[in-house]
């Protein structure tokens, strides 16, 4: 028998063996006893359908987003190009997002999160790295607890008005990473949140859209069924944008196990990665 033929047969046999092994491992994994402490994305993917009608005025529970592995797609990306004023364009041009403008590297980027793991701040934390969120409601406020970076936001529902004067000082409100938020039920299935006072050093999106401290972001959480929740975000910031800019529409699916895994950007790990790999790799080679 020619060697080539032998080689093909052996190759096919190995391929068949490996496929069988992979299938066996897959079956073993899917048949493995489920730990209530673990998140199984395949189980979340298998939870098809709407699950029945949405409960009224209730978003409480744990939801999977587009980076959950549960097959949840983003519905609409942030508006592009953004309708910037001249000042907005100047600020946007200063933000060098990784992968932007034909391939900015991590070494060339000045994204404070990518370089340092600085908090995303709002609204970026609702449209970037959307892995999972848990919502809990108290009588006077609602909390959004994000799995990425293990960070929470607070939304007041006691009817208070948003503050308007933001500055460092005793007679003003400090700009904050998450801003100041108030929420209300527009109808039994739509919760509307308004936020302002976000620290202007944060980016509004992964691609570096800027925002001022006076920007006002509207979020519309619409629970369309037991299993489906969509979030539509719009930012009104006349200093930097000529008209309200859409920050997109993201989709969430109910997680049957209500469990998810932790995922954080750890500053010391990123510093080590940049020092040992990313930054040296980006330096031009000096001719000897």
């Amino acid at each position: 028998m020619p060697k080539t033929c032998t080689g093909i047969i052996v190759g096919v046999a190995v391929a068949v063996f490996l496929s069988a092994l992979a299938a066996a491992q897959g079956n073993a994994q899917s048949n493995e006893a489920r730990s209530p402490w673990k998140y199984y994305p395949e189980d979340a993917r298998a939870n098809v359908g709407d699950g029945g009608p949405a409960p009224k005025r209730d978003l409480t529970g744990t939801w999977a987003g587009e980076s959950s592995g549960a097959g949840v797609a983003r519905l609409v990306p942030p508006e592009s190009p953004p309708p910037l004023t001249p000042l907005g364009k100047k600020l946007f041009d200063q933000n060098r997002a990784e992968g932007g403008r034909g391939g900015i590297t991590i070494a060339e980027s000045n994204d404070p999160h990518v370089r340092y793991c600085d908090p995303f701040g709002f609204p970026r934390n609702m449209n970037d790295q959307i892995r999972s969120m848990t919502i809990t409601t108290l009588p006077n406020r609602t909390f959004v607890l994000l799995k990425f970076m293990n960070i929470w936001r607070e939304i007041w529902t006691d009817g208070r008005a948003l503050p308007t004067n933001f500055a460092r000082g005793r007679d003003a409100h400090d700009p904050t990473y998450n801003g100041y938020s108030v929420g209300r039920w527009e109808d039994d299935y739509t919760f509307v949140v308004e936020t302002t006072g976000m620290a202007p050093e944060t980016w509004a999106t992964e691609s570096g859209y800027p925002h001022s401290v006076d920007a006002r972001v509207t979020e519309r959480f619409q629970r369309k069924s037991k299993n489906d929740l969509t979030l539509t975000m719009t930012m009104d910031d006349p200093k930097l944008y000529t008209k309200p800019v859409s920050l997109g529409v993201v989709h969430f699916r109910w997680i049957p196990s209500q469990t998810f895994f932790d995922f954080s950007c750890v500053p010391s790990s990123v510093q080590r990665y940049l020092k040992e790999m990313a930054d040296p790799a980006a330096k031009p080679v000096v001719a000897r």
């Binding site: 370089r115 809990t136 932790d262 500053p267 010391s268």
Partner: protein
Amino acid sequence: MRTPSIVVSVVVLVYLTTVAGGAQRRGPEGFVREGIPRMPNPPGPAPTRDLSGVWVGPIDNKPDPVPPMTPAGEALFKERKPYGDASRNAKLGASNDPFITCDPLGFPRSLLAHAVSSRGRFIFGSAPDRLLITYEQQRVWREIWMDGRALPKAVDVRGAPESRYYGHSVGRWENDRTLVIDTTGVDERPWLDEAGRPRSSSARIQERYTRLDQYNLQLTVTIDDPKFYTKPWTWMRANFYWVLGQDFAETFCIPSEGIEYRDSLARPSGIVIP
């Protein structure tokens, strides 16, 4: 605490907030401690099986002495270089405290009133089958499963969950006023305290919250960690108090600021943070 670089500004900010806002923020009967307004006296009774609300502490923490460590615990402890109150000698620039770069504090260090802010505020909320606790420091949160499940027997092995900075927790009501939370499976990288003591992923950490009345919540934390300590001990025995206004500040350690401070000021100058 935000970052070493802004420790001063944050402390000043907290001080100014306390002083400037004193007239508006003072409770009807003054202060329990600096910055903590006293609520009307006498307090009302504790509601049944309800801790929800914003609490501040720990106040009057009286832990037991830390027991001797095992050789494994000692070995790890010797690698740790704390700074500030935790050490008379280590300089911030030479410290390897993970919080200098704003790495996660982890549980239970997150329960300590951290240098920076004596504002160990937290709130209890709920979701299906669990309690949720949000902390002012770092704006982190934990979930406590109340559905009767057993804690994981191991972490970071096949079929088991991964370790977590804030561990895996289950809770139960021991009576109408006492909530008991058991935690294990913590990620071993964070320190137990500012001195750099270790805690292992197999440690069992128990919190007992007893709501004495409307405004006082007693917390006792015991740690059983045979891998690193020769016997269990009470790591925290303190009170938490109801917060007037029930609000939070935003208290973040910002990595870019902490790292810049360490590299451009603390290391070159050999500065010691008191």
